[in-house]
Symmetry: C2
């Protein structure tokens, strides 16, 4: 199965990672959340090649995660901005940041998050929409739909 | 800059994606959260090659995300289990699932999450640790430490 096939799985984790699940795409999205919007800034801050960067930006634009906006007419130059779809990746980026802070850092937390609403430095938490309590892996149980169960059964018997 | 160099950036998003930021690693972690622990199950449910799978499992074990446990002595056979570090990736996987549910699904939510604590189907939310309110990108402001600011300044001037 190729990466392309992941995008047609019923599983929406597979579909998400087929679109944004590579290190360079995450680096571009990090830059956008830090307020950088230009090709040259992506290049210098991520260290990726301009070929890879062009490729990733094109894909993200085609899929609706970012949009191009002109900032100069002569010569024609564009900035890149997150769409609503792109901004909605914030919880995924924050989750990876917090995981890195906890398990991979040298001690210092390099980026603190301020909650504008209350003005405090915050450690964003995952909580249950129904009871409001914090949630983690051990509190959760996945409930699979009939269609994904059927797809997984087929994968099992055809392997 | 190579993927390897991302693991030495001060930014903990970069460090996280250098370790788990590829589609196949996410697929293995998805399977582990769904309760699959064996090589053959990973193979059939992700569709990846056994070469890639071996490589990714070895890396995840070396880095402490999963651990091997024997389940048969003759022949020697191993299961793979998430460590505490691995289970702590749950918010990242859930965030990608929810993003896919919202932006990439065919309508049906393929996997519902039940919160064992209250027994309800839940839509896990990101909330502020200080005031308890739900948070999204527009409510948050990154505050960068001196060391990451210096690193980013160097990247800018050396590009």
């Amino acid at each position: 199965m190729s990466r392309a096939n992941l995008s047609t799985q019923t599983c929406t984790v597979a579909r998400s990672v087929a679109l944004v699940g590579d290190e360079w795409t995450f680096m571009i999205i990090r830059e956008l959340f830090l307020g950088n919007n230009r090709f040259g800034d992506f290049l210098s801050q991520t260290g990726m090649s301009s070929h890879l960067l062009s490729q990733r930006l094109k894909k993200l634009e085609t899929e609706g995660v970012i949009q191009r906006k002109p900032y100069s007419e002569r010569p024609p130059r564009y900035e890149y901005h997150l769409t609503a779809m792109g901004r909605d990746l914030w919880p995924a980026v924050i989750a990876l940041k917090q995981w890195g802070d906890r398990w991979l850092s040298d001690g210092e937390v390099p980026v603190e998050i301020i909650h504008k609403g209350c003005g405090h430095i915050t450690q964003p938490q995952v909580t249950c929409s129904e009871c409001g309590e914090p949630m983690a892996a051990h509190d959760s149980e996945p409930h699979l739909s009939q269609s994904i169960l059927a797809e997984r059964q087929t994968a099992r018997t055809h392997s």
